[in-house]
């Protein structure tokens, strides 16, 4: 089982290492299209995920593979192949945009045995609760415990109720370790999946009753929680404490804020709730730790990059001695609501997307209360970036300034804990440059407009995601962050994502395109989901009515072309490097 991770009903699977799990995040087409012209290119691999047809009455999902030729034909002759294929797949009914917003419960994302209304359902099954009463009703559980079985964190429930389970978990894990020399395993029982991650001296466990959450997704969530712990305490500190005392209680060095952050992470990873950046975070994780981007003109981005580079080179003369202010500065980030606008790094080092996402989560958790420019506070705290160096700390300077109405966050990472005043001077320089009248008016105008992607005015697509595969960065249209929308959107995109074919079969040098079409019928309303991808991009979109196939693909290609044309405006690429 080196490269497969199969969840079977009532089965236990073990694998050798966590690494082998990650490449196989995708799942097979629900229904393969078998047209004579595409058949040779269809790849028949096992399906591990089948969106249950009972989910919604009119559920229909189709996907298929096309060769480059076929799609390029389409590109040249819009009436050909692809649209015809779609025509056969899509039932035509009069187009009528959905006006009334349906509830996430109507979409049947989750089973609703007690027939609760939205609010009751959220309270009973979703919302984090440390009370024991609703413990068994929760759809999702996360536990962090020590090898010795000491509870460190639980998403729900009190110590009293979880302590017994901790015992069971450690027993099972040690049995596997000792008798089978196996490390990680997952268990699935009916709709419930249990996944454990053994990071001795810590054990992390997740239990999910959510149908669309697969074991590999659960495992990457556990890794995220583990990375959070590393980021605040670092590997050596964890090891040392447990080395000295097997029975060590890690809670002693975790703070209220840490438990709060773990709660937030659990909700974000599972549901894309509950803060303003949670849904972006969810999509970012769904797309394999992809980084969300913000649209800004190329020249503006170049100017911001230059400001960051110039600030790194700042020197200061005092008492005949020249000090290199930026000597300890490693990374500089300008961001708006956790979306990076400009990024500077050393030539030979980088921060992984996971580390950046983690950094933003931590920064957001202690948002500055004082937003007045004059008196805004500067934050300075240590952080371990697990993929950069799990053994040491970097020191982070964070300052948020409000440009007109847009909050711009300056994040500077230094290798020296005593470099605060130097880093602060660098930050002052950056602020000075950003607030120069010309820069300020250009930047605020652009940032203000960045939320509304112009292309959406030309097409009837209600929501889309475009991911550049080489950069692992994505752009997404604006989302209303209500619980209802977020739960539905995350479910739709999850289904679309997992309904696509798992691998691209390259015949010769052909760039094979894949597509997948899904429709949900909820009461009277219809949601159409469409995915198109090739070697360079993945495109997902949702349309809130039943759209003519020819039209739909035409619109999608229009948006994709627009994204390609706006490459420099949409993506930061690799940022700027200093040597």
């Amino acid at each position: 089982m080196s490269n497969g991770f199969r969840a079977r009903l009532g089965s236990i699977s073990t694998i050798q290492s966590a690494r082998s799990l990650f490449p196989t995040t995708t799942v097979e087409p629900t229904t393969a299209v078998t047209f004579t012209n595409v058949e040779p290119n269809l790849i028949g691999t096992e399906s591990t995920y089948t969106p249950s047809v009972t989910d919604s009455e009119g559920f229909l999902a189709n996907s298929g593979l096309l060769t480059d030729d076929e799609v390029s034909d389409y590109f040249q002759q819009p009436d050909e192949d692809l649209s015809e294929m779609l025509t056969d797949l899509i039932r035509h009914t009069p187009e009528e945009p959905t006006s009334a917003k349906q509830s996430f419960l109507d979409v049947n994302i989750f089973p609703n045995p007690y027939d609760l209304d939205e609010e009751e359902f959220y309270k009973r099954h979703i919302e984090i609760s440390k009370e024991d009463e609703l413990f068994h009703d929760k759809l999702k559980q996360f536990f962090i415990l020590s090898n010795a079985g000491k509870p460190i964190y639980s998403m729900n429930g009190s110590d009293e109720i979880i302590i017994g389970y901790m015992g069971v978990i450690t027993t099972i894990i040690s049995t596997f370790e000792e008798n089978m020399n196996e490390e990680i395993y997952s268990i699935s029982v009916g709709d419930m999946k249990i996944v454990a991650l053994n990071k001795s001296p810590l054990i992390l466990v997740s239990i999910s009753k959510i149908a669309h959450e697969q074991p590999n997704v659960l495992l990457s969530q556990l890794n995220m929680l583990y990375n959070y712990l590393l980021s605040i305490i670092s590997k050596p500190t964890i090891d040392r404490n447990f080395h000295n005392k097997l029975n060590y209680d890690l809670r002693r060095i975790l703070t209220q804020l840490d438990f709060h952050n773990l709660d937030c992470l659990c909700m974000k990873m599972t549901y894309g709730l509950t803060s303003y950046d949670s849904f972006n975070y969810y999509i970012s994780q769904l797309l394999n730790a992809s980084l969300q981007q913000i649209k800004i003109s190329y020249t503006a981005r170049q100017r911001l990059n230059k400001i960051l580079l110039d600030s790194k080179r700042m020197r200061q003369n005092s008492d005949d001695k020249e000090t290199d202010l930026g000597a300890d500065l490693l990374f500089s980030i300008l961001s708006v609501n956790s979306k990076i606008v400009s990024f500077m790094k050393p030539k030979n080092h980088n921060l992984t997307n996971q580390d950046l996402t983690l950094l933003f989560s931590i920064i957001n958790s202690s948002k500055s209360d004082i937003s007045n420019d004059e008196t805004s506070e500067d934050m300075w705290f240590p952080i371990c970036m697990p993929n950069f160096n799990p053994n040491g700390f970097l020191y982070v300077f964070v300052k948020t300034i409000i440009l007109q109405t847009t909050p711009v966050t300056i994040t500077l990472l230094s290798s020296n804990k005593n470099s605060f005043y130097q880093i602060r001077q660098i930050s002052n320089y950056i602020i000075h440059k950003l607030t120069k009248p010309k820069m300020l008016s250009k930047l605020t105008k652009e940032l203000h407009e960045s939320n509304t992607l112009a292309i959406l005015r030309e097409v009837p697509i209600s929501h889309f995601i475009y991911k550049n595969k080489a950069l692992n960065q994505f752009v997404m249209s604006d989302t209303d962050n209500s619980v209802n929308s977020v739960l539905q959107l995350s479910y739709f995109y999850n289904t679309l994502y997992h309904t696509k074919a798992s691998q691209m079969k390259t015949i010769g040098s052909l760039n094979i395109k894949k597509f997948s079409y899904t429709r949900w019928t909820v009461d009277e309303a219809v949601i159409t989901g469409f995915m198109l991808s090739d070697n360079n991009y993945e495109f997902y979109c949702l349309c809130n009515y039943q759209i003519n196939s020819k039209e739909l693909i035409g619109h999608c290609i229009k948006v994709i072309k627009w994204c390609e044309k706006n490459y420099n405006r949409l993506f930061i690429g690799n940022g700027v490097s200093f040597t």
């Binding site: 605040i232 305490i233 670092s234 050596p236 500190t237 040392r240 404490n241 002693r252 060095i253 703070t255 209220q256 804020l257 709060h260 200061q316 005092s318 008492d319 000090t323 931590i362 958790s365 202690s366 948002k367 500055s368 209360d369 004082i370 007045n372 008196t375 805004s376 506070e377 500067d378 934050m379 300075w380 705290f381 240590p382 053994n391 040491g392 700390f393 982070v396 290798s415 020296n416 804990k417 005593n418 470099s419 605060f420 005043y421 130097q422 602060r424 001077q425 002052n428």
Partner: protein, 217 residues
């Protein structure tokens, strides 16, 4: 007075156990604002606020440090060059008063000799009776005024009981510190940061890369 005197910069650090209200005191002083259930500080936050005392203008450069044990090893960096410190405890939490004693001791041993320290018992609003009178609610207060006063007298500290929530006595703390800081001691600093920044000696701490253990356990 035709010209305002240039502001003197005073570096000030807040120390004390977690959740005694350090950030709330700063928020009250800087923005005259209060928030219930404020998020804990991570690491430290740096703020500046000008304060006019008589004819002097003092520019406070405030280090609001995190109270959690995990960050304790960072504290020396903040108080090393400080001219003033506010050690905060919660008058309803005896343990926080013990912690305050430790901070005062550490400051006397490690910080600058002439540092001005104010001992502040916060959360006075919790013991205050709802009726405007002078009375106090029974059983809520766990650290008496005398205990605070005695510690302050022994160690030569300024002493206040405050409420960041009602703003009771908050400004007085900063004015009291300003009054006690001798004019000469606060070096006539240049209008901007440069001189101050220059005072941090980089070379002695240049080796701070690599392993850094935050936990003091």
């Amino acid at each position: 007075m035709s010209y305002p005197t240039p502001a003197t910069s005073v570096k000030l650090v807040l120390l004390g156990e977690a959740a005694v209200g350090k950030s709330s005191l700063v928020l009250r002083f800087v923005s005259n604002d209060f928030q219930e259930n404020k998020e804990p500080t991570i690491g430290a936050a740096f703020l500046t606020q000008k304060c006019t005392i008589g004819e002097r203008t003092i520019k406070y450069e405030i280090w609001d440090t995190a109270g959690q044990e995990r960050f304790a090893s960072l504290a020396p960096m903040y108080y090393r060059n400080a001219q003033a410190a506010i050690v905060v405890y919660d008058i309803t939490k005896p343990a926080s008063f013990i912690k305050a004693r430790h901070w005062v001791k550490e400051l006397h041993e490690q910080a600058a000799k002439d540092i001005t320290i104010a001992l502040v018992g916060n959360k006075y609003d919790l013991v205050q009776d709802d009726d405007e009178g002078q009375g106090e609610r029974e059983g809520v207060r766990k650290v008496s005024v005398e205990e605070g006063q005695n510690l302050a007298a022994e160690e030569g500290l300024l002493f206040y009981e405050t409420s960041a929530k009602t703003s009771y006595n908050v400004n007085d703390v900063f004015i009291g510190i300003g009054n006690k800081i001798p004019e000469a001691a606060s070096l006539a600093s240049s209008p901007e940061q440069n001189n101050n920044e220059g005072r941090i000696d980089l070379s002695t701490n240049a080796s701070s890369n690599g392993n850094r253990n935050l936990c003091s356990c």
